[in-house]
């Protein structure tokens, strides 16, 4: 499974949607994921990729990790995974 497929699977599960309903330009808000759902998604991504995502729910826009849409999340993960390697 590619990073993209894994992330979409995690987000789809959180949003209670089919993976086919999640596109690269979907925002979490579009998908109906609230702040608690976001924190849970980030946790699931950290577990899946064995990375630590710098994210503070008090200032989501100031975190180094861009969550503006699914594509941004995937590229953020790719960056963290490559930094780890």
């Amino acid at each position: 499974m590619s990073t993209q497929d894994k992330v979409i699977a995690i987000i789809a599960e959180q949003a209670v949607l089919e993976p086919s309903d999640v596109t690269l330009d979907s925002t979490l808000e579009d998908l109906g994921i609230d702040s608690l759902g976001l924190v849970e998604s980030i946790f699931a991504i950290e577990e899946e990729f064995d990375i630590s995502i710098p994210f503070n729910a008090n200032e989501p826009e100031q975190s180094d990790f861009d969550i503006s849409n699914v594509a941004a999340i995937i590229s953020g993960i790719d960056k963290l995974v490559s930094e780890k390697a």
Partner: protein, 402 residues
Amino acid sequence: MKRVVITGAGTINALGHSVPATLEAMREGRCGIGELDFRDVDRLAIRIGGQVRGFEAEGRFNRQQMSLYDRFTQFTLTAAKEAIEQSGLEFHGELSAKAGVVLGNSGGGMQTLDENYRSVYEDGKNRVHPFVVPKLMNNAAAGHVSMQFNLKGPSFTVSTACASSNHAMSQAFQMVRSGMSPVMITGGSESMLCFGGVKAWEGLRVMSKDACRPFSANRNGMVQGEGAGIFVFEEYEHAKARGAEILCEVIGFAMSSDAADIVMPSKQGAARAISGALQDARIDASEVGYINAHGTGTAANDKTECAAVADVFGPQADKLMISSTKSMHGHLIGGTGAVELLACIMALRDGVIAPTIGYEEADPECALDVVPNEARAAKVNVVLSNAFAFGGLNAVLALRKI
């Protein structure tokens, strides 16, 4: 209905090991938050907290007591001693039979849990100390206070996360006001600053890595604290008859539930608790001079709380002062309302309003007089103390100068 007054106060927290030391720190706007110091702290992303320093159980408690007292119980007994000594009360006969202790607490003996889980899971031991259960149970502190001071009336522990102490004190207030008991010991305590305790909070991603800055536009989360605040709630005539020094009067309370979300606060729920306390105390909004805010320093709480205050007080909201002392002692979770009640007593008795320290940038969503960074001299006659917990469970107390 009986009138209820406070005739004793005790505390231990990151700002001081007594009420005078704590109030002095609040007047000076001192910060008790610093680098956490305990085992495995290097495995945490959040490494700051309002830890109680220089408190050694050895010497204070004997060996048998130490084997039974988790740190939250140690804090509770230390604060209870100060409060009850100040009140001058001794409990025997009928007073002993009726007086009890209602305390707030959220995590119970978390230090004991942490140590013993480590021992059985990490170290692979198959035997634990025989007193693990009586040491970690949430009502251990209330039980030990009842034993130490001979309180034989109603005693129990209230657990509503961050509102535990306010719910407990509301309960004690009702018991004295209704005539059920002439004296109740009340307040709360918490000691979650251990690896497991902080790690759990870290998971929620609402903690700040650098400071607690309530109401400031650049706030970035809460900071945990630890300690206890204990008070003697006494029926007014009982206190007057024995010539006791009265610190202030407790005049009302209200509790409400958001019935909405397990962690996100609700403006309506908070507003109902605040306006309910005004109604219960039979006071007009214009009489309130100061509110000790819940003010956690999270994005969500502070703007919701300010909106609730603005809703209840209308134009009066601009005339009152509201500060969060969590900026100094951290968030004591189940013990927080108790330690914060000290700032209310200081406002009423000494005419000093404790500041919100760490305040750096105005936030249009928190556009109230938050007493930024420096304590202020002001005469106030009525104050409120807010607590809004996870679970959407709220409790607000009203107090008056006497």
